[in-house]
């Protein structure tokens, strides 16, 4: 079989739709919101062409509920929104965590808080993505920096979601969502697609939350309508899905929601390294800002300066090993982000090397420029 590659010049949001379909997603429920609406429109157009289903719900709470329901009926499901929508979805994001329901939420970030600047980019939802829903839990958050990423990493988001039975957030932003760029829509080979593990036990023995006897620590998930009759409750439950409020049971499961992500960090996290081998200074960036950072690295290189970039493609779980490796080697680090300093806090937490870690924040809806990053590095240099 030869795989077909299609070259397109499309928006990040459109590439997300193609990625979702390539990953095998066949159900979308959502509520339109700028700057994510092209994902709704694209899904309404494309899903029925592949036998999938689009439904526009009355709000984001219902949308999140519907994709959870559809996922439990065996369809890979997703929704797309922006920060205000994530605020509403956070309620049922907890349901997906607690019910261990695979699904993908796309947040095309815009400037906030509240309605904010509806059409303008920001990167202010980093912590909301991590802690938006209440209670302790792990979460996987992936941040694209190109239209190609929007395709490739959407597939990755579905794969991780299926593998770890967890919601995955795709943290895009208005710049990347609306950026038109060359993308190769690779035809995806079946072996590149991960589908959730199915039970193979006797139906009467099936326990939808029994993770302990699984080598990978993830319980298989049947679909409603299969021979397996099962219960999903997002009240604290036992292995069978029966409400169970004993302290030991609560402890076991609440830890599980974090452990299954944190213990598999090596498998989950993706970072990109540019010019870091002999760098004197490093930039740690993600999303659209990583593009300015890469430009800065290239400009510096032309000028004979040794500046490297660590791009966090996976934001959560936080790539602390890779960040530590950088902190250990360089004289100083600059963390540019279109917020008042969210990721930088994580970097500082593990800065045991006493090097300066400086933030570069912008919340005026404009992209951080390569020059601003280079100026900041110069500032750090001068202080040393």
């Amino acid at each position: 079989m030869t795989l077909n590659n299609k070259v397109k010049f499309i928006q990040g949001n459109q590439a997300v739709v193609e990625g979702a379909i390539a990953a095998g997603a066949r159900f979308y429920a959502g509520y339109p919101i700028t700057p994510s609406s092209e994902i709704a429109e694209g899904s309404a157009n494309r899903l029925p062409q592949v036998g999938g289903l689009y439904v526009q719900m009355e709000d984001e709470i219902g949308s999140m509920a519907a994709i959870i329901g559809a996922s439990l009926s065996g369809k890979k499901s997703y929704t797309a929104t922006s920060g205000p929508g994530i605020s509403l979805m956070s309620e049922n994001l907890g349901v997906a965590v607690m019910g261990e329901v695979p699904c993908v939420l796309i947040n095309v970030q815009r400037s906030g808080p509240s309605t904010g600047l509806a059409t303008k980019p920001a990167q202010g939802d980093v912590m909301q993505a991590r802690w938006g829903t209440h209670g302790d839990h792990g979460i996987i958050v992936i941040s694209p920096s190109s239209v190609q990423d929007c395709y490739d990493l959407t597939i990755e988001a579905f794969n991780l979601s299926e593998k770890y039975r967890t919601p995955v957030m795709f943290l895009s932003d208005a710049t990347i969502g609306h950026l038109k760029e060359k993308v190769v829509l690779r035809e995806i080979a079946p072996e590149e697609i991960v589908n959730r593990k199915q039970p193979n036990c006797d139906p009467k023995d099936y326990q939808p939350f029994k993770f302990q006897d699984q080598e990978d620590g993830i319980a298989p998930l049947a679909a409603y309508g299969s021979e397996y009759v099962f219960r999903i409750t997002t009240t604290t439950h036992d292995e069978r899905g029966m409400a169970n409020s004993t302290p030991a049971n609560a402890d076991k499961f609440i830890r599980h929601y974090t452990d299954k992500i944190e213990k598999n960090k090596k498998d989950i996290t993706i970072v990109r390294k540019y010019n870091l081998e002999d760098a004197d200074y490093a930039i740690i960036a993600f999303g659209c800002t990583a593009r300015a950072a890469l430009e800065a690295v290239n400009i510096a290189k032309d000028k004979g300066k040794k500046i490297g970039l660590l791009q966090l493609v996976t934001i959560w779980p936080f790539a602390d090993d890779e960040v530590r490796e950088v902190l250990k080697k360089v004289k100083g680090v600059v963390v540019p982000e279109m917020n008042l300093g969210q990721i930088i806090g994580e970097v500082k937490k593990i800065n045991d090397y006493g090097i300066p870690v400086e933030g570069l924040s912008r919340v005026d809806s404009l992209m951080i420029t390569p020059k601003e990053i280079l100026d900041k590095i110069e500032e750090v240099e001068k202080c040393l």
């Binding site: 009355e58 509920a65 959870i68 009926s73 369809k75």
Partner: protein, 273 residues
């Protein structure tokens, strides 16, 4: 193998039910399970979706597939479950808090969207689980723990709301008229499209206690005395209908459901590519 004993759908080891003495929830649960048995529903193909509240605990006792999520959102989950696998029988259990208050918007849109699920809303006129506060159906001037001087607002007529939203099947029963109730529930499950049954129920512990119904039997009697049939309601003058619950079937018509319509969308879309 078809199951036709209602208690095959009941998880007996979870009994006694956790509800208060005289609570109507158990009566409605019994009616639902008996309807399942009459219809011979396969557990594998049936999903019961519940909300939050006293009635939201009903799934604890039901042996089909179940889903128990967040307050008011049961219809959202059910929409996804059903649309992703239209072969499933999806039954949604909500209280008046779930269905008519926090989730009221989901209710009217589910009715309008005409997803083929059956929603059974048990209306006990207050929030039982949290201690008897007023809900979206609490009648004007009645007493709850948050309307200690008499309720300021009016309550919803939920059936009228769902009817106005365009549901193809809308009915109301109560926990006194159990034979009619079971008939309505069975019909609703059989109905293609969004079917809705409101059940007027009792909350002896809270609403009953604060509104002069001292015993479970007293609360049941209050429901009996304040319920009238559609036929009778049509003949009564307006002032005599005031505060009465009208029982019976308000809507029973055929409207193509979401899945049937969407199947045509799929055919159309596939033609284009």
């Amino acid at each position: 193998m078809s199951v036709n004993k209602y208690d095959d759908y009941l998880i007996k080891e979870k009994l006694p039910v956790f509800w208060c003495a005289g609570c109507g929830n158990g009566i409605v649960l019994g009616s639902i399970l008996r309807s399942f048995a009459q219809l011979g529903l396969k557990k594998e193909n049936t999903v019961v979706v519940t909300g939050i509240g006293c009635w939201g605990k009903a799934d604890d006792y039901i042996s089909t597939n179940t889903f128990h999520g967040t307050h008011g959102r049961a219809l959202g989950f059910a929409t996804g479950i059903k649309l992703a696998n239209p072969k499933l029988n999806v039954i949604v259990l909500m209280g008046d808090g779930d269905g008519a208050t926090i989730g009221g918007n989901h209710l009217i849109h589910a009715a309008r969207r005409n997803v083929d699920v059956t929603a059974i809303l048990v209306n006990n006129l207050n929030y039982g689980m949290t201690g008897g506060q007023y809900s979206g159906t609490t009648p004007h001037a009645s007493y709850t723990t948050t309307s200690p001087y008499g309720h300021v607002e009016n309550g919803f007529d939920v059936c009228k709301l769902v009817k106005a939203a365009g549901a193809p099947y809308v009915a109301r029963g109560n926990v006194y008229g159990v034979i009619q109730l079971q008939k309505l529930i069975k019909e609703a499950i059989e109905k293609k499209g969004f079917s809705f049954v409101e059940v007027i129920s009792t909350c002896t512990t809270h609403y009953g206690r604060l509104n002069g119904m001292k015993t479970s039997a007293g609360a049941m009697k209050w429901i009996k005395d304040n319920s009238i049939s559609i036929e009778r309601a049509e003949k009564l003058p307006k002032e005599e209908k005031e505060g009465k619950f009208v029982m019976g079937k308000f809507v029973d018509k055929d409207i193509e459901d979401y899945t049937a319509r969407y199947d045509r969308v799929i055919s159309k879309a596939k033609e284009i590519i």
